[in-house]
Protein backbone atom coordinates (compact mmCIF):
# COMPACT_ATOMS: atom_id res chain seq x y z
CA UNK A 1 0.00 0.00 0.00
CA UNK A 2 2.68 2.40 1.07
CA UNK A 3 4.63 1.44 -1.97
CA UNK A 4 1.68 2.33 -4.23
CA UNK A 5 1.37 5.80 -2.60
CA UNK A 6 5.11 6.33 -2.77
CA UNK A 7 5.24 5.42 -6.44
CA UNK A 8 2.25 7.79 -7.25
CA UNK A 9 3.94 10.67 -5.46
CA UNK A 10 7.25 9.99 -7.28
CA UNK A 11 5.33 9.85 -10.56
CA UNK A 12 3.57 13.13 -9.82
CA UNK A 13 6.79 14.73 -8.69
CA UNK A 14 8.62 13.70 -11.82
CA UNK A 15 5.68 14.79 -13.97
CA UNK A 16 5.92 18.33 -12.76
CA UNK A 17 8.53 20.28 -14.58
CA UNK A 18 10.30 21.59 -11.45
CA UNK A 19 12.83 23.48 -13.49
CA UNK A 20 10.23 25.56 -15.27
CA UNK A 21 8.26 26.38 -12.12
CA UNK A 22 11.40 27.25 -10.25
CA UNK A 23 12.58 29.59 -12.94
CA UNK A 24 9.10 31.15 -13.07
CA UNK A 25 9.16 31.69 -9.30
CA UNK A 26 12.66 33.15 -9.51
CA UNK A 27 11.55 35.50 -12.23
CA UNK A 28 8.61 36.67 -10.14
CA UNK A 29 10.82 37.28 -7.14
CA UNK A 30 13.29 39.12 -9.32
CA UNK A 31 10.44 41.21 -10.67
CA UNK A 32 9.36 42.14 -7.17
CA UNK A 33 12.88 43.13 -6.13
CA UNK A 34 13.76 45.08 -9.25
CA UNK A 35 10.32 46.68 -9.33
CA UNK A 36 10.60 48.02 -5.85
CA UNK A 37 14.18 49.18 -6.45
CA UNK A 38 13.25 51.02 -9.62
CA UNK A 39 10.13 52.54 -8.10
CA UNK A 40 12.00 53.77 -5.04
CA UNK A 41 14.73 55.38 -7.14
CA UNK A 42 12.29 57.00 -9.55
CA UNK A 43 10.31 58.24 -6.56
CA UNK A 44 13.43 59.83 -5.10
CA UNK A 45 14.14 61.44 -8.49
CA UNK A 46 10.78 63.15 -8.79
CA UNK A 47 10.41 63.89 -5.07
CA UNK A 48 11.54 67.47 -5.41
CA UNK A 49 9.51 68.24 -8.50
CA UNK A 50 6.06 66.87 -7.81
CA UNK A 51 3.57 66.66 -4.99
CA UNK A 52 3.43 63.64 -2.68
CA UNK A 53 0.32 62.48 -4.44
CA UNK A 54 2.00 62.47 -7.84
CA UNK A 55 5.13 60.89 -6.46
CA UNK A 56 3.13 57.98 -5.01
CA UNK A 57 1.34 57.50 -8.32
CA UNK A 58 4.60 57.48 -10.29
CA UNK A 59 6.19 55.02 -7.90
CA UNK A 60 3.25 52.68 -8.16
CA UNK A 61 3.13 52.94 -11.95
CA UNK A 62 6.81 52.05 -12.32
CA UNK A 63 6.57 49.19 -9.86
CA UNK A 64 3.63 47.63 -11.61
CA UNK A 65 5.22 48.18 -15.02
CA UNK A 66 8.38 46.32 -14.04
CA UNK A 67 6.43 43.65 -12.16
CA UNK A 68 4.11 43.02 -15.06
CA UNK A 69 7.04 42.61 -17.46
CA UNK A 70 8.68 40.06 -15.18
CA UNK A 71 5.31 38.47 -14.50
CA UNK A 72 4.73 37.96 -18.21
CA UNK A 73 8.18 36.47 -18.61
CA UNK A 74 7.49 34.15 -15.66
CA UNK A 75 4.20 33.03 -17.17
CA UNK A 76 5.90 32.26 -20.46
CA UNK A 77 8.54 30.34 -18.62
CA UNK A 78 5.84 28.37 -16.80
CA UNK A 79 4.38 27.46 -20.15
CA UNK A 80 1.21 29.54 -20.23
CA UNK A 81 0.11 30.92 -23.55
CA UNK A 82 0.15 34.69 -23.36
CA UNK A 83 -2.74 35.04 -25.82
CA UNK A 84 -5.14 33.97 -23.08
CA UNK A 85 -3.82 36.68 -20.83
CA UNK A 86 -4.16 39.26 -23.55
CA UNK A 87 -7.72 38.15 -24.21
CA UNK A 88 -8.49 38.75 -20.59
CA UNK A 89 -6.91 42.19 -20.88
CA UNK A 90 -9.24 42.96 -23.78
CA UNK A 91 -12.29 42.19 -21.71
CA UNK A 92 -10.85 44.36 -18.95
CA UNK A 93 -10.54 47.28 -21.37
CA UNK A 94 -14.20 47.08 -22.24
CA UNK A 95 -15.09 47.09 -18.57
CA UNK A 96 -12.88 50.14 -18.00
CA UNK A 97 -14.49 51.81 -20.99
CA UNK A 98 -17.93 51.46 -19.50
CA UNK A 99 -16.71 52.74 -16.16
CA UNK A 100 -15.06 55.82 -17.66
CA UNK A 101 -18.10 56.94 -19.62
CA UNK A 102 -18.42 60.15 -17.67
CA UNK A 103 -14.77 61.05 -18.05
CA UNK A 104 -14.85 60.40 -21.78
CA UNK A 105 -17.96 62.52 -22.07
CA UNK A 106 -16.24 65.28 -20.14
CA UNK A 107 -13.19 65.15 -22.39
CA UNK A 108 -15.24 65.38 -25.55
CA UNK A 109 -17.39 68.16 -24.06
CA UNK A 110 -14.17 69.98 -23.28
CA UNK A 111 -13.06 69.73 -26.89
CA UNK A 112 -16.36 71.12 -28.09
CA UNK A 113 -16.17 73.94 -25.58
CA UNK A 114 -12.71 74.87 -26.80
CA UNK A 115 -13.92 74.95 -30.40
CA UNK A 116 -17.14 76.82 -29.70
CA UNK A 117 -15.64 79.36 -27.27
CA UNK A 118 -18.78 80.44 -25.38
CA UNK A 119 -16.46 82.01 -22.81
CA UNK A 120 -12.78 82.64 -22.24
CA UNK A 121 -10.46 82.77 -19.27
CA UNK A 122 -11.29 85.89 -17.27
CA UNK A 123 -14.98 86.02 -18.20
CA UNK A 124 -17.67 86.15 -15.54
CA UNK A 125 -20.03 83.25 -16.12
CA UNK A 126 -23.03 81.82 -14.36
CA UNK A 127 -23.70 78.08 -14.42
CA UNK A 128 -26.31 76.25 -12.35
CA UNK A 129 -26.61 79.10 -9.85
CA UNK A 130 -22.83 79.36 -9.47
CA UNK A 131 -21.43 82.66 -10.69
CA UNK A 132 -17.77 83.52 -10.91
CA UNK A 133 -14.70 84.25 -12.95
CA UNK A 134 -13.22 81.53 -15.19
CA UNK A 135 -9.66 80.81 -14.10
CA UNK A 136 -8.93 77.65 -16.10
CA UNK A 137 -10.47 75.65 -18.91
CA UNK A 138 -9.10 72.11 -18.54
CA UNK A 139 -9.63 68.73 -20.16
CA UNK A 140 -12.33 67.48 -17.85
CA UNK A 141 -13.64 70.57 -16.13
CA UNK A 142 -13.68 74.32 -15.90
CA UNK A 143 -12.46 76.02 -12.76
CA UNK A 144 -14.34 79.05 -11.47
CA UNK A 145 -13.50 81.52 -8.73
CA UNK A 146 -16.61 82.92 -7.04
CA UNK A 147 -16.76 86.58 -5.94
CA UNK A 148 -16.24 85.49 -2.34
CA UNK A 149 -13.07 83.68 -3.39
CA UNK A 150 -14.23 80.07 -3.41
CA UNK A 151 -12.91 77.52 -5.88
CA UNK A 152 -15.60 75.74 -7.88
CA UNK A 153 -14.95 72.87 -10.28
CA UNK A 154 -17.64 72.54 -12.95
CA UNK A 155 -17.48 69.40 -15.16
CA UNK A 156 -17.44 70.14 -18.88
CA UNK A 157 -20.47 67.93 -19.34
CA UNK A 158 -22.56 70.29 -17.23
CA UNK A 159 -21.44 73.24 -19.32
CA UNK A 160 -22.40 71.54 -22.56
CA UNK A 161 -25.71 70.26 -21.27
CA UNK A 162 -27.01 73.25 -19.35
CA UNK A 163 -27.42 76.99 -19.81
CA UNK A 164 -24.33 79.15 -19.36
CA UNK A 165 -24.65 82.92 -18.94
CA UNK A 166 -21.57 84.89 -19.95
CA UNK A 167 -21.73 88.31 -18.34
CA UNK A 168 -18.56 89.61 -19.93
CA UNK A 169 -19.20 88.87 -23.59
CA UNK A 170 -20.57 92.27 -24.58
CA UNK A 171 -18.87 95.56 -23.63
CA UNK A 172 -21.94 97.32 -22.22
CA UNK A 173 -24.77 96.25 -19.92
CA UNK A 174 -28.16 97.67 -19.09
CA UNK A 175 -29.14 98.29 -15.49
CA UNK A 176 -32.86 98.04 -14.75
CA UNK A 177 -33.97 99.64 -11.52
CA UNK A 178 -37.45 99.33 -10.13
CA UNK A 179 -38.69 102.54 -8.50
CA UNK A 180 -42.06 102.82 -6.82
CA UNK A 181 -43.66 106.18 -6.26
CA UNK A 182 -46.79 107.08 -4.42
CA UNK A 183 -50.03 107.36 -6.36
CA UNK A 184 -50.25 111.00 -5.40
CA UNK A 185 -47.05 111.91 -7.29
CA UNK A 186 -46.72 113.24 -10.84
CA UNK A 187 -45.23 110.46 -12.99
CA UNK A 188 -43.94 112.79 -15.70
CA UNK A 189 -42.12 114.93 -13.15
CA UNK A 190 -40.45 111.87 -11.64
CA UNK A 191 -39.50 110.66 -15.11
CA UNK A 192 -37.79 113.96 -15.89
CA UNK A 193 -35.94 113.84 -12.57
CA UNK A 194 -34.70 110.31 -13.20
CA UNK A 195 -33.55 111.10 -16.73
CA UNK A 196 -31.74 114.15 -15.35
CA UNK A 197 -29.97 111.89 -12.86
CA UNK A 198 -28.86 109.61 -15.69
CA UNK A 199 -27.42 112.58 -17.53
CA UNK A 200 -25.45 113.77 -14.49
CA UNK A 201 -24.10 110.33 -13.64
CA UNK A 202 -20.53 109.94 -14.96
CA UNK A 203 -20.81 106.18 -15.49
CA UNK A 204 -24.10 106.20 -17.37
CA UNK A 205 -23.74 106.18 -21.16
CA UNK A 206 -25.53 108.75 -23.30
CA UNK A 207 -26.24 106.21 -25.99
CA UNK A 208 -28.22 103.87 -25.91
CA UNK A 209 -30.54 106.38 -24.26
CA UNK A 210 -31.81 105.78 -20.74
CA UNK A 211 -35.56 105.45 -20.39
CA UNK A 212 -38.31 105.30 -17.79
CA UNK A 213 -41.39 103.12 -18.21
CA UNK A 214 -44.46 102.67 -16.04
CA UNK A 215 -44.62 98.94 -15.54
CA UNK A 216 -47.71 98.72 -13.44
CA UNK A 217 -50.08 100.10 -10.90
CA UNK A 218 -48.97 98.21 -7.81
CA UNK A 219 -50.78 97.53 -4.59
CA UNK A 220 -49.11 100.43 -2.78
CA UNK A 221 -47.28 102.38 -5.49
CA UNK A 222 -46.97 103.20 -9.15
CA UNK A 223 -44.12 100.98 -10.34
CA UNK A 224 -41.59 102.51 -12.70
CA UNK A 225 -38.72 100.82 -14.48
CA UNK A 226 -35.68 103.05 -14.88
CA UNK A 227 -33.15 101.61 -17.36
CA UNK A 228 -29.76 102.94 -18.36
CA UNK A 229 -26.61 101.52 -19.93
CA UNK A 230 -23.12 101.35 -18.38
CA UNK A 231 -19.78 99.84 -19.44
CA UNK A 232 -19.64 96.25 -18.20
CA UNK A 233 -16.89 96.85 -15.64
CA UNK A 234 -18.89 99.68 -14.02
CA UNK A 235 -22.00 97.61 -13.40
CA UNK A 236 -22.01 97.52 -9.61
CA UNK A 237 -20.68 101.03 -9.24
CA UNK A 238 -23.36 102.27 -11.62
CA UNK A 239 -26.22 100.46 -9.94
CA UNK A 240 -25.25 101.31 -6.38
CA UNK A 241 -24.39 104.90 -7.13
CA UNK A 242 -27.60 105.49 -9.03
CA UNK A 243 -29.79 104.01 -6.30
CA UNK A 244 -28.21 106.33 -3.76
CA UNK A 245 -28.70 109.27 -6.10
CA UNK A 246 -32.36 108.34 -6.71
CA UNK A 247 -33.11 108.17 -3.00
CA UNK A 248 -31.39 111.51 -2.36
CA UNK A 249 -33.09 113.29 -5.24
CA UNK A 250 -36.57 111.96 -4.48
CA UNK A 251 -36.14 112.89 -0.83
CA UNK A 252 -34.98 116.38 -1.82
CA UNK A 253 -37.90 116.87 -4.17
CA UNK A 254 -40.34 115.57 -1.61
CA UNK A 255 -41.45 112.62 -3.69
CA UNK A 256 -42.63 109.69 -1.65
CA UNK A 257 -41.38 106.15 -2.14
CA UNK A 258 -44.21 104.41 -0.34
CA UNK A 259 -44.18 101.56 2.14
CA UNK A 260 -46.80 98.88 1.56
CA UNK A 261 -50.13 100.52 2.38
CA UNK A 262 -53.34 99.04 3.69
CA UNK A 263 -56.29 101.38 3.79
CA UNK A 264 -59.05 100.50 6.22
CA UNK A 265 -62.33 101.45 4.67
CA UNK A 266 -65.35 101.46 6.91
CA UNK A 267 -67.84 101.87 4.07
CA UNK A 268 -70.16 104.80 3.41
CA UNK A 269 -73.11 103.38 5.30
CA UNK A 270 -71.34 102.47 8.51
CA UNK A 271 -70.60 104.88 11.26
CA UNK A 272 -67.03 106.07 11.78
CA UNK A 273 -64.84 104.00 14.14
CA UNK A 274 -65.07 105.09 17.75
CA UNK A 275 -61.72 106.22 19.11
CA UNK A 276 -61.39 106.80 22.87
CA UNK A 277 -58.34 108.26 24.54
CA UNK A 278 -57.42 106.55 27.81
CA UNK A 279 -56.28 108.81 30.64
CA UNK A 280 -53.97 107.47 33.43
CA UNK A 281 -56.82 107.24 36.06
CA UNK A 282 -58.79 104.92 33.87
CA UNK A 283 -56.00 102.32 33.74
CA UNK A 284 -57.52 100.56 36.83
CA UNK A 285 -60.32 99.23 34.68
CA UNK A 286 -57.95 97.10 32.69
CA UNK A 287 -58.30 93.30 32.77
CA UNK A 288 -56.43 91.41 35.43
CA UNK A 289 -53.18 89.93 34.24
CA UNK A 290 -53.13 86.36 33.07
CA UNK A 291 -50.52 85.26 35.56
CA UNK A 292 -51.21 85.60 39.30
CA UNK A 293 -48.58 87.61 41.09
CA UNK A 294 -48.65 86.05 44.50
CA UNK A 295 -48.37 82.41 43.80
Amino acid sequence: MLEAIQSTVVQLASGIAWGKWLSAAVLLLLGLLIGSLVSRNVGRLVEKRTTRHHQAIIRRVFFYLVFIIFGMAALREAGFALEVVLGAAGILTVAIGFASQTSASNIISGLFLVMEKPFEIGDMIEVDATAGEVIAIDLLSVKIRTPDNLFVRVPNETLIKSRVVNRSRFPIRRIDLSVGIAYAEDVERVRDLLLGLAQQNAVCLEDPKPFVLVTGFGASSVDLQFSFWVPKDKFFEGRGGMMVAIKKTLDQQGIEIPFPHTSIYAGSHSAPFRVQLMGPEQQKDKDSPDVERDN
Binding site: F170, I172, L205, E206, D207, P208, W229, P231
Partner: protein, 270 residues
Protein backbone atom coordinates in the same frame (compact mmCIF):
# COMPACT_ATOMS: atom_id res chain seq x y z
CA UNK B 1 10.70 132.41 -18.13
CA UNK B 2 8.50 134.20 -15.68
CA UNK B 3 9.23 134.38 -11.98
CA UNK B 4 6.52 136.77 -10.76
CA UNK B 5 4.76 135.85 -7.53
CA UNK B 6 1.36 136.68 -6.10
CA UNK B 7 -0.21 138.12 -9.22
CA UNK B 8 -3.11 136.90 -11.27
CA UNK B 9 -2.55 136.23 -14.92
CA UNK B 10 -3.93 134.33 -17.86
CA UNK B 11 -2.35 130.93 -18.14
CA UNK B 12 -0.52 129.96 -21.29
CA UNK B 13 -0.13 126.53 -22.82
CA UNK B 14 3.39 125.09 -23.36
CA UNK B 15 4.91 128.03 -21.51
CA UNK B 16 7.75 127.34 -19.06
CA UNK B 17 6.85 128.39 -15.53
CA UNK B 18 9.62 128.43 -12.93
CA UNK B 19 8.70 127.61 -9.36
CA UNK B 20 10.87 127.98 -6.31
CA UNK B 21 10.77 125.28 -3.63
CA UNK B 22 7.72 125.77 -1.41
CA UNK B 23 5.70 127.68 -4.00
CA UNK B 24 2.32 126.59 -5.32
CA UNK B 25 0.91 127.47 -8.71
CA UNK B 26 -2.87 127.62 -8.69
CA UNK B 27 -4.99 127.32 -11.83
CA UNK B 28 -8.64 127.69 -12.60
CA UNK B 29 -9.33 126.42 -16.09
CA UNK B 30 -12.47 124.91 -17.56
CA UNK B 31 -14.28 122.92 -14.88
CA UNK B 32 -11.11 122.22 -12.90
CA UNK B 33 -9.14 123.91 -10.17
CA UNK B 34 -5.53 122.78 -9.89
CA UNK B 35 -2.69 123.35 -7.42
CA UNK B 36 0.86 122.32 -8.29
CA UNK B 37 3.34 122.55 -5.43
CA UNK B 38 7.10 122.24 -5.67
CA UNK B 39 8.97 120.88 -2.66
CA UNK B 40 12.63 119.93 -2.30
CA UNK B 41 12.13 116.25 -3.02
CA UNK B 42 8.68 116.00 -4.58
CA UNK B 43 5.93 117.57 -6.66
CA UNK B 44 2.41 117.64 -5.29
CA UNK B 45 -0.70 118.02 -7.42
CA UNK B 46 -4.20 118.70 -6.10
CA UNK B 47 -7.26 118.66 -8.36
CA UNK B 48 -10.76 119.88 -7.66
CA UNK B 49 -13.80 119.61 -9.91
CA UNK B 50 -15.91 122.73 -10.28
CA UNK B 51 -19.57 123.14 -11.14
CA UNK B 52 -19.82 126.78 -12.18
CA UNK B 53 -23.09 128.40 -13.16
CA UNK B 54 -21.84 129.72 -16.47
CA UNK B 55 -19.41 128.37 -19.01
CA UNK B 56 -15.91 129.32 -17.79
CA UNK B 57 -14.10 131.68 -20.14
CA UNK B 58 -10.60 132.42 -18.87
CA UNK B 59 -7.59 130.58 -17.56
CA UNK B 60 -6.73 132.08 -14.21
CA UNK B 61 -3.25 131.30 -12.95
CA UNK B 62 -1.19 132.55 -10.04
CA UNK B 63 1.96 131.55 -8.19
CA UNK B 64 2.00 131.89 -4.44
CA UNK B 65 1.95 129.91 -1.24
CA UNK B 66 -1.74 129.24 -0.76
CA UNK B 67 -2.93 125.65 -0.58
CA UNK B 68 -6.50 124.39 -0.62
CA UNK B 69 -8.24 122.84 2.37
CA UNK B 70 -7.18 119.38 3.50
CA UNK B 71 -10.32 117.84 2.02
CA UNK B 72 -8.67 117.70 -1.39
CA UNK B 73 -6.19 114.85 -1.52
CA UNK B 74 -2.88 115.34 -3.23
CA UNK B 75 -0.88 113.17 -5.59
CA UNK B 76 2.84 113.10 -4.94
CA UNK B 77 5.58 112.66 -7.52
CA UNK B 78 9.22 112.10 -6.68
CA UNK B 79 11.55 114.62 -8.25
CA UNK B 80 14.30 113.25 -10.45
CA UNK B 81 16.70 116.08 -10.84
CA UNK B 82 14.52 118.63 -12.60
CA UNK B 83 15.07 122.34 -12.12
CA UNK B 84 11.60 123.25 -10.90
CA UNK B 85 10.36 124.18 -14.35
CA UNK B 86 6.76 123.43 -15.23
CA UNK B 87 4.94 123.26 -18.56
CA UNK B 88 1.33 122.52 -19.37
CA UNK B 89 0.78 120.67 -22.63
CA UNK B 90 -2.73 120.22 -24.05
CA UNK B 91 -3.90 116.88 -25.40
CA UNK B 92 -7.01 115.78 -27.22
CA UNK B 93 -9.40 113.20 -25.79
CA UNK B 94 -7.84 109.70 -25.56
CA UNK B 95 -10.95 108.00 -27.01
CA UNK B 96 -12.87 108.99 -30.15
CA UNK B 97 -15.48 111.65 -29.40
CA UNK B 98 -19.05 111.51 -30.64
CA UNK B 99 -20.15 115.00 -31.59
CA UNK B 100 -23.83 115.78 -31.27
CA UNK B 101 -25.09 119.16 -32.44
CA UNK B 102 -27.66 120.62 -30.07
CA UNK B 103 -29.91 121.09 -33.09
CA UNK B 104 -29.54 118.54 -35.92
CA UNK B 105 -28.38 120.06 -39.17
CA UNK B 106 -29.68 119.13 -42.62
CA UNK B 107 -27.32 119.31 -45.59
CA UNK B 108 -28.97 119.31 -49.03
CA UNK B 109 -28.01 116.77 -51.67
CA UNK B 110 -24.60 117.41 -53.18
CA UNK B 111 -23.81 120.24 -50.78
CA UNK B 112 -20.84 120.77 -48.47
CA UNK B 113 -20.65 122.61 -45.18
CA UNK B 114 -18.05 123.31 -42.54
CA UNK B 115 -18.97 122.99 -38.86
CA UNK B 116 -16.65 124.31 -36.17
CA UNK B 117 -16.57 121.85 -33.27
CA UNK B 118 -14.93 122.52 -29.93
CA UNK B 119 -13.82 119.60 -27.76
CA UNK B 120 -12.58 119.61 -24.18
CA UNK B 121 -8.84 119.22 -23.74
CA UNK B 122 -6.82 117.10 -21.36
CA UNK B 123 -3.97 118.88 -19.57
CA UNK B 124 -0.60 117.16 -19.22
CA UNK B 125 1.61 118.47 -16.43
CA UNK B 126 5.23 118.21 -17.59
CA UNK B 127 8.30 119.09 -15.54
CA UNK B 128 11.93 119.79 -16.26
CA UNK B 129 13.80 120.53 -19.44
CA UNK B 130 12.94 117.15 -20.88
CA UNK B 131 9.22 117.85 -20.26
CA UNK B 132 8.68 114.51 -18.59
CA UNK B 133 5.01 114.01 -17.87
CA UNK B 134 3.82 113.78 -14.25
CA UNK B 135 0.13 113.19 -14.93
CA UNK B 136 -2.74 114.26 -17.11
CA UNK B 137 -6.28 115.27 -16.26
CA UNK B 138 -9.41 116.22 -18.20
CA UNK B 139 -10.42 119.86 -17.89
CA UNK B 140 -14.10 118.92 -17.75
CA UNK B 141 -15.67 115.64 -16.63
CA UNK B 142 -16.10 113.62 -19.80
CA UNK B 143 -19.38 111.95 -20.55
CA UNK B 144 -19.28 108.53 -22.17
CA UNK B 145 -21.40 106.99 -24.84
CA UNK B 146 -21.57 103.92 -27.05
CA UNK B 147 -21.06 104.05 -30.79
CA UNK B 148 -21.91 100.93 -32.69
CA UNK B 149 -24.24 99.10 -35.01
CA UNK B 150 -25.85 97.38 -32.04
CA UNK B 151 -25.16 96.79 -28.39
CA UNK B 152 -22.88 93.85 -29.16
CA UNK B 153 -20.35 95.45 -31.50
CA UNK B 154 -18.97 98.92 -31.29
CA UNK B 155 -16.80 101.01 -29.03
CA UNK B 156 -17.02 103.25 -26.01
CA UNK B 157 -16.46 106.91 -26.88
CA UNK B 158 -16.62 110.26 -25.20
CA UNK B 159 -19.67 112.36 -25.96
CA UNK B 160 -19.64 116.06 -26.63
CA UNK B 161 -22.53 118.32 -27.42
CA UNK B 162 -21.79 121.23 -29.72
CA UNK B 163 -23.62 124.18 -31.17
CA UNK B 164 -22.25 123.21 -34.57
CA UNK B 165 -21.58 126.76 -35.61
CA UNK B 166 -21.11 127.42 -39.28
CA UNK B 167 -19.56 130.88 -38.87
CA UNK B 168 -16.10 131.01 -37.34
CA UNK B 169 -16.69 134.43 -35.78
CA UNK B 170 -19.59 133.06 -33.77
CA UNK B 171 -17.44 130.44 -32.06
CA UNK B 172 -16.49 131.62 -28.56
CA UNK B 173 -12.84 131.43 -27.64
CA UNK B 174 -12.13 129.06 -24.74
CA UNK B 175 -8.59 128.23 -23.58
CA UNK B 176 -9.67 124.77 -22.45
CA UNK B 177 -11.20 123.69 -25.73
CA UNK B 178 -9.62 123.02 -29.12
CA UNK B 179 -11.42 123.87 -32.34
CA UNK B 180 -11.76 121.38 -35.19
CA UNK B 181 -13.31 122.40 -38.52
CA UNK B 182 -15.37 119.46 -39.78
CA UNK B 183 -16.20 119.51 -43.48
CA UNK B 184 -19.24 117.41 -44.29
CA UNK B 185 -19.76 116.51 -47.93
CA UNK B 186 -23.11 115.05 -48.87
CA UNK B 187 -22.63 113.01 -52.05
CA UNK B 188 -26.04 111.41 -51.83
CA UNK B 189 -29.13 112.08 -53.90
CA UNK B 190 -31.09 113.00 -50.80
CA UNK B 191 -30.45 115.50 -48.06
CA UNK B 192 -28.43 114.40 -45.06
CA UNK B 193 -29.51 114.96 -41.46
CA UNK B 194 -26.43 115.34 -39.27
CA UNK B 195 -27.42 114.14 -35.82
CA UNK B 196 -24.08 112.83 -34.67
CA UNK B 197 -20.69 111.77 -35.99
CA UNK B 198 -17.52 110.38 -34.49
CA UNK B 199 -14.40 112.53 -34.33
CA UNK B 200 -11.10 110.59 -34.13
CA UNK B 201 -9.66 112.82 -31.38
CA UNK B 202 -6.68 110.57 -30.49
CA UNK B 203 -5.37 111.13 -34.02
CA UNK B 204 -5.49 114.93 -33.94
CA UNK B 205 -2.47 117.06 -33.02
CA UNK B 206 -2.95 120.45 -31.33
CA UNK B 207 -1.78 123.74 -32.84
CA UNK B 208 -1.90 127.29 -31.48
CA UNK B 209 -2.39 130.34 -33.67
CA UNK B 210 -0.96 133.79 -33.10
CA UNK B 211 -4.05 134.85 -31.12
CA UNK B 212 -3.52 132.04 -28.64
CA UNK B 213 -6.45 129.92 -29.83
CA UNK B 214 -6.02 126.15 -30.06
CA UNK B 215 -6.80 124.43 -33.35
CA UNK B 216 -6.54 120.93 -34.77
CA UNK B 217 -6.27 119.95 -38.42
CA UNK B 218 -9.62 119.73 -40.16
CA UNK B 219 -11.54 116.53 -40.64
CA UNK B 220 -13.51 115.75 -43.81
CA UNK B 221 -16.53 113.50 -43.67
CA UNK B 222 -17.90 112.22 -46.98
CA UNK B 223 -21.21 110.47 -47.06
CA UNK B 224 -21.67 108.46 -50.24
CA UNK B 225 -24.72 106.85 -51.71
CA UNK B 226 -24.57 104.24 -48.97
CA UNK B 227 -26.45 105.73 -46.07
CA UNK B 228 -24.86 103.66 -43.39
CA UNK B 229 -21.21 104.46 -43.83
CA UNK B 230 -19.12 107.55 -44.37
CA UNK B 231 -15.42 107.89 -44.96
CA UNK B 232 -13.32 110.12 -42.74
CA UNK B 233 -10.15 111.92 -43.71
CA UNK B 234 -7.85 113.98 -41.48
CA UNK B 235 -6.05 116.85 -43.13
CA UNK B 236 -2.31 117.18 -42.74
CA UNK B 237 -2.28 120.81 -41.63
CA UNK B 238 -4.50 123.39 -40.01
CA UNK B 239 -7.03 125.27 -42.09
CA UNK B 240 -5.99 128.64 -43.48
CA UNK B 241 -8.81 130.39 -41.61
CA UNK B 242 -6.91 129.80 -38.37
CA UNK B 243 -4.00 131.94 -39.46
CA UNK B 244 -0.32 131.15 -38.79
CA UNK B 245 -0.08 128.25 -36.33
CA UNK B 246 2.61 126.45 -34.37
CA UNK B 247 2.43 122.81 -33.27
CA UNK B 248 2.11 122.49 -29.49
CA UNK B 249 1.28 118.83 -29.01
CA UNK B 250 1.49 115.86 -31.38
CA UNK B 251 -1.39 113.45 -31.77
CA UNK B 252 -1.75 110.69 -29.16
CA UNK B 253 -1.80 107.96 -31.79
CA UNK B 254 -0.63 107.78 -35.34
CA UNK B 255 -2.79 106.40 -38.10
CA UNK B 256 -1.15 104.07 -40.59
CA UNK B 257 0.04 106.11 -43.54
CA UNK B 258 -2.32 106.60 -46.45
CA UNK B 259 -5.19 104.72 -44.93
CA UNK B 260 -8.60 106.31 -44.95
CA UNK B 261 -10.69 105.73 -41.90
CA UNK B 262 -14.05 104.27 -42.63
CA UNK B 263 -16.46 104.63 -39.77
CA UNK B 264 -19.82 103.02 -39.82
CA UNK B 265 -22.48 105.51 -38.83
CA UNK B 266 -25.28 102.93 -38.77
CA UNK B 267 -28.93 103.69 -38.52
CA UNK B 268 -28.26 106.53 -36.12
CA UNK B 269 -26.88 108.69 -38.92
CA UNK B 270 -30.19 109.68 -40.33
Amino acid sequence: MTDVTESQRDGVWAHPYQLASGQTQQHELGYTRLWVTLLDMEWQVRVQKLVPDTDPITWYETIGHTLPSGAISEQRFVRTGDNGMLRYIPAMAPLPTVIKPHQPLTIPAGATCVIYVGTTLWMKICVGDSASELMELPLATPSMTWLGRNTMQGELCYASATYGRLALEAVPKRPWRALTPVTIINRRQKSLLVERFSLPTPLLPVYRNDKGRLWTPGVTVESDTDMNSASLHIESSVTAAAGPCELIAPAREQMARGRRLVRAFDHIFG
